[in-house]
């Protein structure tokens, strides 16, 4: 009988652990939310996300409006458990918000353009999703912004001179440095850019950044192709990795260390992941020179986001993209080895597409994307992965 007694006792102790562990779970560690709107005609496009100082999240998004061919601007504030708090619908005078939502000090910045003049405006936003300043920048057709220390790096398009413009601007919109590089003559060259702005065509993978040593790079149109251009704001680029018009080139990229880059590229619909490659930043090469790992499971010309993050004290390059089966895929590669450490799929039932991800204060991951609710309605969704879930990605 003693054995039975101790067996029951051990079961009860196990039960106690199981139940108390469950009670101790913090709902903010991991969640999934779809921000639903019950209007049949509403359609939302997520752009980027930042975590606010209260642990909540600020989501920059866009939606179709009737007063412009371009899309309008929305800001959504949610709490740390992902529950919707409020939505700021920016005046329809401003359209075409660009990737990214940048955090500098305690403020957030995004760029959109005036619907009439098409001039790029820099918006300053506070933790509560309130717009506190709108500053003109002197740029037009903004395509991408990125943090550059205490300033902002902006990629834009001048359709009068048919130039891609890379600029460093202050947080009040003043231009600090700028350089213009021709996209090539003819309306055919410009057509994909205009389709990108009106969202009537493919969304082009514009991005920009700074390498160690002060050389800047941008992925945009140059000399008739989607190219990765290296510049020190001189009259000519320092170097170029050419694409294949808008049919091939890089879909994401960031400098890991000097000329060593983590990249992904697309080529006539196919997708390739290049976790570590040393680029020639002072000459002219072609994106097709870099084979990379073919990922046939990614959707055609898939949008890719990537970042260098710490997972379990290990530096990893995390890629996020969309699969042909309608899921979001996360792929982690070792920074030094360039080897695939693990993959994780997000979403089921209806199709999902990634917009961006950020590492959260609790060392988890927030992934913002969109899904088709009931298979019909485009809505913004937010996956919050706990630190443990992120750790499982590489273990």
């Amino acid at each position: 009988m003693n054995k039975v007694f101790y067996f029951l006792l051990s079961l009860l102790i196990l039960a106690g652990c199981d139940i108390s562990d469950n009670d101790a779970v913090d709902p903010s560690e991991g969640f999934f939310k779809i921000y639903d709107n019950n209007l049949f005609d509403a359609s939302f496009i997520p752009i980027d996300i930042q975590q606010t100082t209260d642990g909540g999240y600020l989501i920059l998004s866009s939606k179709r409006i009737e007063t412009s061919n371009f899309t309008g601007v929305n800001l959504i504030k949610v709490d740390k458990e992902g529950n919707f708090i409020e939505e700021q619908i920016i005046d329809e005078q401003y359209v075409g918000p660009v990737d990214q939502l940048v955090k500098i000090a305690d403020s957030y910045y995004f760029m959109a353009m005036d619907a009439t003049s098409l001039q790029a405006m820099l918006f300053t936003v506070n933790d509560s999703s309130r717009v506190t300043a709108i500053n003109p920048t002197g740029l037009s057709y903004p395509m991408y912004i990125a943090e550059d220390g205490e300033n902002i790096l902006a990629l834009s398009y001048n359709n009068g001179d048919k130039n891609s413009i890379i600029s460093r601007i202050s947080t009040s919109g003043q231009t600090l440095q700028t350089a213009a590089y021709g996209i090539g003559a003819g309306s055919d060259t410009e057509a994909p850019i205009i389709s990108h702005f009106t969202r009537t065509g493919r969304q082009l993978p514009f991005f920009a950044g700074r390498m160690n040593g002060g050389v800047y790079y941008f992925n945009g149109f140059y000399n008739y192709t989607m190219s990765l251009v290296f510049t020190n704001f001189g009259e000519d680029p320092l170097g170029v990795v050419q694409g294949q018009q808008d049919d091939g080139g890089f879909s994401s990229g960031m400098s890991i260390s000097g000329g060593n880059f983590a990249l992904s590229r697309f080529n006539f619909g196919d997708n390739f992941i290049i976790p570590s490659i040393d680029l020639n930043t002072t000459g002219t090469t072609s994106a097709t020179d870099f084979e990379g790992n073919a990922f046939p499971e990614l959707s055609e010309n898939a949008p890719v986001v990537l970042d260098l993050i710490n997972i379990d004290a290990q530096e990893a390059i995390l890629y996020g993209s969309n699969t042909k089966s309608g899921q979001i895929i996360l792929m982690a590669y070792g920074k030094s080895s360039g080897e695939l450490l693990g993959t994780k799929y997000l979403g089921s039932t209806y199709p999902y597409q990634i917009a961006d991800f950020i590492v959260t204060e609790d060392m988890g991951l927030a992934v913002v994307g969109n899904t088709s609710v009931a298979g019909r309605f485009d809505r913004i969704c937010l996956f919050k992965l706990s630190k443990e879930e992120l750790s499982d990605l590489i273990n």
Partner: protein, 294 residues
């Protein structure tokens, strides 16, 4: 609060275990030597089988949603639970030690419990009120547990063939399997006519959505009828779950239906069980008549 309930339940079950344990030793070291007939009348071991049906009531302490509405109240997303309407079943063993009207019973069993809820959603056109889509999602859960209840029974009437009794106890159960079935129905008013959706059904494994352990207390009534050397038992018990069975860590992470807006609430299960059993005495009096047990 949930933690206190858990501790209370553990204490009750331990108390029952200790009581049963103590009874064995008390019997073993009893210095008074009763006659064989007296001993048989007052003390007996029973072993048998039980089976029956059960109904479940989900008791929701907090609702969770996969949707977070931006332009309508979150209360529109509240789930509608059905209580006591999904039939489950159980089967198992009963091992009972009887002593002077009191029975200490261990009744391990395999049980299936079911509960269900539904959501309704509507999307409307701002421009044309006739354009709308109504959807209803009905979720049915089936949970299989191995349950280990410890029960004290007290015979209200002793010495007759019919022995009505009352019983109280506690249980620990461990989840062995769970699945979730969804049925989607609705009407599309926006495609030119009021077109009903064809019912779509999907069944998924849902074990990761629930924690392994379930504990609770129970109380009930029953009646035993001694027939030849068999004791036939019918009882009804109300079981009150004391812990949240939803796995909070996996609420969204392992929910394949989260794209539908589904998220499992914090739930404690209450249950009404009806059992029929046949018990056999393990000790017999040697007599020519081979008397039935009283």
């Amino acid at each position: 609060m949930a933690k206190n309930s858990t501790i209370l339940s553990l204490a009750i079950i331990l108390l029952l275990s200790s009581a049963a344990h103590g009874q064995f030793y008390k019997h073993k070291y009893n210095t008074k030597k009763p006659s064989e007939a007296d001993k048989f009348e007052k003390t007996q071991w029973w072993l048998g089988f039980k089976a029956g049906a059960n109904l479940t009531e989900p008791n929701v302490s907090q609702q969770y949603y996969g949707f977070s509405p931006v332009n309508y109240p979150a209360s529109d997303l509240d789930k509608n639970y059905d209580s006591w309407d999904k039939l489950g079943g159980q089967a198992g063993l009963e091992i009972t030690f009887y002593h002077q009207g009191f029975s200490f019973s261990f009744q391990p069993n395999y049980r299936r419990q079911s509960f269900s809820y539904s959501n309704t959603y509507q999307w409307l056109s701002a421009e044309n009120a006739a354009n709308s889509i109504d959807l209803k999602y009905e979720y049915n859960h089936k949970l299989d547990y191995v349950e280990l209840p410890l029960i004290i029974k007290y015979d209200i009437l002793k010495g007759s063939k019919f022995r009505p009794f009352v019983q109280v106890g506690g249980y620990y159960a461990t989840l062995t399997n769970a699945n979730k079935q969804i049925e989607i129905s609705g009407t599309d008013y926006a495609s030119g006519n009021a077109g009903p959706f064809e019912n779509q059904q999907l069944i998924i494994g849902a074990k990761d959505l629930f924690i392994k352990s379930s504990v609770g207390i129970l109380g009930g009534v029953g009646v035993a009828y001694d027939f030849w050397n068999i004791r036939l038992v019918f009882d009804a018990s109300y079981k009150h779950g004391l812990n949240n069975i939803a796995d909070q860590k996996n609420r969204y992470a392992e929910n394949q239906l989260s794209g539908l807006g589904d998220a499992l609430d914090d739930i404690q299960l209450n249950n009404l069980s009806f059992n029929f059993g046949a018990l056999f005495p393990l000790r017999f009096i040697s007599s020519e008549g081979h008397n039935a047990v009283r």
